[in-house]
Symmetry: C2
Subunit: 314 residues, 2 copies
Amino acid sequence: MRIDIKKCAALLREHNNILILTHAHPDGDTLGCGFGLCRALQKCGKRARVINADNVPPKYAYMQNGLNDDNFKEEYIVSVDVATENLLGSLAESYGGKINLCIDHHGTNTEYAEYLLLEETAAACEIVYRVICELGVEIDKDIADCLYTGISTDTGCFRYASATPSTYRIAADLMELGADNGSINRIMFETKTKTYAHLERLALDGMKFYCGDRVAIITVTQEMYAKTGSNEQETEALAPLTRQIEGVEIGITIREKPDGTCKASIRTFEKINASDFAKSFGGGGHAQAAACRLNCSVEEAKNRLVEKCGEILK
Amino acid sequence: MRIDIKKCAALLREHNNILILTHAHPDGDTLGCGFGLCRALQKCGKRARVINADNVPPKYAYMQNGLNDDNFKEEYIVSVDVATENLLGSLAESYGGKINLCIDHHGTNTEYAEYLLLEETAAACEIVYRVICELGVEIDKDIADCLYTGISTDTGCFRYASATPSTYRIAADLMELGADNGSINRIMFETKTKTYAHLERLALDGMKFYCGDRVAIITVTQEMYAKTGSNEQETEALAPLTRQIEGVEIGITIREKPDGTCKASIRTFEKINASDFAKSFGGGGHAQAAACRLNCSVEEAKNRLVEKCGEILK
C-alpha cells in the first residue's frame, strides 16, 4: 500500500527492533538512508540495525562509526533505496515477502513491501530526511553526514539534471546541521587510490567507440584488476566517464566478474532511457543511470550491447 | 571605500553606460558575474556592456547569446571577480586607476577601485545575485543561467569546502528561476572533446610524484597540444586532477606557453595555503586554488616548484 511521509513516520513510531535492509553492492544513497535512519531511530529510544548482503566499502565506513549495533530479535523490516527484492542480493532469500515498509525513490519499484513510501526524488536520502523531520528527531552531525553523503553521491555531487531545488535546500539544511560537505565530497569525488588511478588510465586507454561515435564502451577485466591491484569496489567512478566524450549518447562500462560473466553499467542523456535499456537485459535503474548482468564473456556482452545500441539509435 | 550590497545597488542605479570588466583568461564566475549583471542592468533600462582581454571560451558562449552589446561612451567602470588590476590582462593599461566599482570575493583584493563590495563567498556570482535582487530586477532564465554557471564552476559543482548553505540555496533559487542546471553542469563538467580527452590521458600518464608522494605534478607542453589537437582553453579541468590521488597534499599543473615560459596552477587541501604558495612566485588566488607565472622553462619551473613544496611540507 502506498503511504505518505506522515504515515511512514507513524509506522516507525509504532514499532521497535527495526531491521533496515540496504541494497547489495551498496552505494552512498542506500547506506546514507540506512545508517541515517538507524541513528534517528536509536535517538528515539528504539533498537535498530542496518544489514547488507555485501561489505560496506571502506570509504563509507564513517557512516557506521560508533553506531550501536547489538543483536536483537527483529520485529519490523524496513528496506531503503531498494527497488526490487532481488536487489537485496543474498538477503532476498531470508527477507523476500517479509518486508513491512519500503522507503524508495525508484519509479520502477515493484511494490513488494506491505507499505511503500515512494517519491521520485534525486536521492532516497531526501525522503529519509523528511521522515526523520516528521519523527521529530533532532538531526545531529552523524545523521547529517549520512544523509548528505547519499544526496551528494546519487546526484554526482549535485551535477545531474535529477537534482532539484529541494535537493539543494535539503543539502543546505544538512550542512547547517553539521554535515561536513568538504570532507565528504573529497572522499567521494576527489580521492583516487593509486591502484584505482592506474586502472582508470588503463580503462580509458582502451575506450572504444561505436555507432558513429555515439556509443563509448570501456571494459574492466579481472586481468586489469590483477595488473593494477585495484578491485571492483573501487570502480564506481568509472561509469560516468563513458558519457563525457563530446557526442557520446550512450556510455557503457562492462566489468568482468570472477566467474567470467559480466555486469554492465549504462549511462545516457535525456534522449535515451537507460532503465529501459537495462530492462531489456533483465536489469533496471534510473532514466540516465542503470545496470544489468550478462551471463556471457566480456566480448559477447560487448557485441550484444552494441547491437542493442544500434537498434536504439536507429 | 568598502561598501555593502545596498550601496552597491544604489551606485549602479545612479549611473548609466556601464562598462563591466572581467578578468583575463575568463572563467565561469567572472563571465557569469559580467553577463548576469549586464543583462540585469539592461532590464533596468540602462546601457551596459561586458569586455574581456581574451576571447570568451566557446563553452561559455551561451551566456552572451542575444545580448545587446552596442557601442556607447562608457561612463561608469565596474570590475567583477577581479582581485587586482593586473588580472585584467591587456585591459589593465586602459582601465588601471579608472575603476569606479569592484564586486569581488577574493580576500586578496587590493582595493584598487573607488568603491569595493567584497564578500568572501564561494563564488562572486553569489554577491551579484544579491545585488540584482537589491536592484529589484526580476531574474529571468538568461540571468539565472549566467549566475548558476558562476556558482557551479567556482565550487567544482558544489563540491569544495568553500560552498556554504547560502551557496546551495542561491543555486536552488536560480534553478527555480529557470537556470538549466542539468545542461550547464553537463557542459562544464561532463563534456570532454576527444582532443582534450587525449591530452588528459597523456598528462595523467606523465604525472610525477615528489616529497614522499605528497606532491603530484603534471606538465602540459606545446608539443602535447600539437600532438592531440587540444589547446590551453580546453585544459581548465586538468588542475583539480592533480590533488585527487590519495596522499597528495599539493597538486601542480604546469602549462607551457607558446613563448616557452610557464603558468602553474596550484591545488591544495586545507592544511596548505595555495594563495601564499602562489604569492611567493608573484601570483595569487584562493586558499585552495591559486596560480602563478614563471619566466622559465617547464623543467626549471618544476624544479623551483618542487623545492618550494619541500620547504612548505617540512
